[in-house]
């Protein structure tokens, strides 16, 4: 995977930062999160022009062939701004899964539209329990004279309600496989589920004899799924780190300006010391996210450990920081109109997607040989 130079990466990050500062303000986020689709098509088009959906897609398929380092950098910006978008579903998970599976015909057919942002792709990865393992898949695929059909249910599927391209994991008699399904197929229902994090779009899918096309795999299918999950975790870690930092920043700003007892509340040790502890959380999250991206980019054998470390460190940092932020603000942050709870909601969602912090602590220890 070709990476950008540090300067190019920095320029891309700056461009995303500027775009989001202008087009993804708090008011924009609040407006977008109330829409059914849960993302702003105009902003998505602008992000697509900048190449974000195709960031990880090979140049041969219309992408820019960049990698985890670039992804992590822009996700820090996306997280800071609470960007509502199908980028994670489409440009990260679906794109990585397709590339890792290596079905060249399917890739030639699907990836260019994903790269351009014209199509939104998503993957049904797991069942209701949200166990991000092969055992967590609750869809089975059966061969019929007319091809494969899928039965079962999938849950927590990102942006399925907006998907043009739908991939699903399913068990066959021979093992796990990835199938392409027409989102409008008979027998498929896509129920949008109301999320506590209003900036997130999830759906539950039920399959009843849904016709599907099996994708060829050039290697073990779970390896490809794990590659997609690992890339998603790097993206999420970047989002968490960026959002943690932004939340800390506006909290510190408030502590510097809010006067009680004749002085800024940030002068009181109760607030100051919480802020200091949160800075350690935020910096650690940033370090962990960037390290995970770097290890994955260089294909290090340490990458899985680095990714799990980032997964739980960033999730915990984000939840801890946003929870403390509300307390530090006091009453003002108990109002809907204040942004702190939007960050807490995102933090709680991010701590569940692709495995809880406890799941990743366990995985980390296993990666360390224990």
């Amino acid at each position: 995977m070709a990476s950008l130079s540090a300067e190019e990466r920095s320029a891309l990050q700056d461009a995303v930062h500027r775009l989001l500062a202008e087009r993804c303000t708090e008011a924009d986020v609040r407006a977008t999160m109330e829409t059914p689709e849960g993302y702003d098509p105009d902003l998505w088009a602008r992000l697509s022009e900048m190449g974000l959906p195709g960031l990880l897609i090979a140049e041969a398929h219309g992408g820019s062939g960049a990698g985890p380092l670039e992804l992590e950098a822009i996700m820090e910006e996306a997280g800071a701004a609470l960007l509502c978008s199908p980028l994670l579903a489409s440009g990260v998970i679906a794109a990585t899964l397709l590339a890792a599976l290596g079905d060249e015909a399917a890739n030639a057919r699907l990836l260019p539209a994903v790269a351009s942002g014209d199509a939104i792709a998503t993957v049904a990865l797991t069942g209701d329990k949200g166990a991000w393992t092969a055992g967590g898949v609750d869809v089975t695929a059966s061969p019929t004279p007319d091809g494969w059909v899928l039965d079962g249910a999938a849950a927590h599927v990102l942006h399925a309600q907006n998907a043009d391209i739908l991939l699903a994991l399913a068990h066959t008699a021979a093992g796990l496989d990835v199938f392409e399904v027409d989102p409008t197929a008979q027998g498929l229902t896509i129920e949008p589920a109301p999320t506590f994090d209003h900036t997130l779009r999830l759906a539950r899918l039920t399959f009843t004899a849904v016709p599907a096309q099996r994708l060829e795999a050039s290697g073990p299918v779970w390896d490809a799924v794990q590659a997609a999950l690992d890339m998603a975790l790097v993206a999420l870690a970047g989002e968490q780190a960026g959002a943690t930092r932004r939340c800390l920043d506006f909290t510190v700003d408030y502590a510097n300006t809010r006067i009680q007892f004749g002085r800024p509340i940030g002068g009181f040790q109760a607030i100051k010391h919480m802020a200091a502890d949160l800075l350690l959380e935020a910096e650690s999250a940033t370090s962990a996210a960037r390290n995970a991206a770097a290890r994955l980019a260089e294909g290090s054998p340490d990458a899985p450990a680095a990714i799990s470390l980032a997964a739980f460190a960033c999730a915990d940092a984000f939840v801890t920081t946003t929870a403390a932020s509300i307390q530090m603000h006091g009453g003002i942050a108990f109002t809907w109109a204040h942004p702190a709870h939007l960050y807490l909601r995102r933090a709680r969602a991010d701590a569940q997607l692709f495995g809880t912090p406890g799941f990743h602590r366990e995985r980390y220890l296993q990666q360390l040989g224990a």
């Binding site: 109301p194 510097n256 004749g262 009181f268 109760a270 307390q327």
Partner: protein, 392 residues
């Protein structure tokens, strides 16, 4: 009224309740008036003010009889914040006008204390009340006011003197709410409810008789009112009168984990046990404090209850989330368990911020209970108009 023995009193109230009360009268608006007229509402108070001038033990006999009959309205000399405050600090005309109606539940009330700029630092209020002789003109903004929409009066603190230190320029009013300058706006909370309101006051008029205590001495009146409020909340916090019991019904966290199929998870089990323990320890603390108080010795434990409750609520919400895992991603009626966990996560701040943040509570405990020194107060001894209000 001649002195009665305890037995006589018990007989009298029991007979009266038997003659007058029946469960169908719950919600009957005339009931409270009868209780007040019979002298059962505020038995500790003077006969002039609907009472019987009884000492506490006899008043408790009456309350107990009402409790046993499940009849409301007694014990208001302990629990009716509004009437107690008014009786203690009000002018004669205002008392004559409102004490009776307050006891009879005919007057809607609300609290107009907090302001956007005066939360932890309540004495920093900037709502102004200008003395115009027979009335005050009030301008300002209040917040975190519940029941404001239906209130007839609000207990209001406002600044009447800007040239003295902050605690000394505050006055306390019964502010009439049904007038044009009062605008009540529901405040949407992070829980997506609107339990509280913002109240905007524009040239609101308050008759001079509605001042409680003297002008400039409102901070003291407020402390009286807050003490009543705390004592009522303390009563309520003391749990069932039958005393503290060890668990009988299944603990909600255990039931939730069982339902979610994760009760066997050893990591969750530790967290569940600890969360239940926090709750149980607070109940034990409260029971001990109550026993201390019953023996006449003061207890420092009560002051810990709010801080403990904050930990209990945040921790229980955290463990619920851990039990639910990915299910906690959702909200709405199809996901009641997630709805609970997410609501409780947010609503825990009602306790850890509202009524004095945990940080303020720790100050209070450290200073008043443990006797540690107060912090330097930069704004204590300077005229309020010189107090810093802008940051940055």
């Amino acid at each position: 009224m001649t002195e009665q023995t305890d037995a006589q009193l018990r007989d009298e109230v029991t007979a009266w309740l038997a003659a007058h009360w029946s469960p169908e009268r719950r919600g009957d608006k005339t009931w409270l008036a009868e209780v007040v007229a019979a002298g059962w509402a505020v038995p500790r108070w003077s006969v002039d003010w609907f009472g019987r001038e009884l000492a506490d033990p006899q008043a408790r006999i009456i309350e107990r009889a009402f409790t046993e009959a499940a009849a409301p309205g007694s014990g208001q000399d302990r629990t009716n914040l509004w009437a107690n405050t008014l009786l203690a600090k009000g002018t004669e005309p205002l008392k004559a006008q409102l004490v009776g109606p307050l006891l009879r539940g005919e007057v809607g009330m609300c609290l107009l204390y907090s302001e956007p700029g005066a939360g932890s630092d309540l004495a920093g209020i900037r709502t102004r009340a200008d003395n115009q002789g027979d009335r005050y003109i009030v301008n300002g903004q209040k917040v975190w006011t519940s029941t404001a929409a239906n209130a007839d009066y609000g207990m209001l603190i406002a600044r009447t003197d800007w040239d003295v230190p902050k605690h000394r320029g505050i006055s306390f009013f019964f502010c009439p709410m049904k007038q044009p300058g009062v605008e009540v706006r529901p405040l949407r909370q992070i829980t997506n409810e609107s339990f509280f309101n913002e109240v905007f006051l524009t040239d609101v008029e308050i008759p001079a008789d509605n001042l409680l205590g003297r002008e400039g001495e409102g901070w003291g009146v407020l402390q009286t009112a807050l003490a009543y409020e705390r004592s009522v909340m303390g009563e309520m916090a003391r749990g069932p009168r039958s005393g503290v019991k060890d668990a009988t019904a299944e603990e909600p966290l255990i039931a939730l984990a069982r339902e979610a199929g994760v009760l066997a998870d050893p990591v969750l089990r530790q967290q569940i046990a600890q969360a239940i323990a926090y709750k149980r320890l607070n109940a034990l603390n409260t029971a001990r404090a109550k026993a201390d108080l019953a023996q006449g010795s003061s207890s420092s434990i009560m002051s810990l209850g709010k801080l403990a409750m904050s930990r209990i609520l945040h921790e229980e919400a955290r463990v619920r989330t851990a039990i639910l895992g990915a299910e906690s991603l959702y909200e709405g009626k199809d996901h009641p368990r997630a709805e609970d966990a997410n609501f409780l996560t947010l609503n825990a701040y009602f306790t850890s911020i509202g009524g004095g943040t945990d940080q303020i509570q720790r100050n209070i405990i450290g200073e008043r209970v443990l006797g540690l020194p107060k912090e330097p107060e930069l704004d204590r001894d300077i005229p309020f108009r010189d107090v810093r209000t802008q940051g940055g």
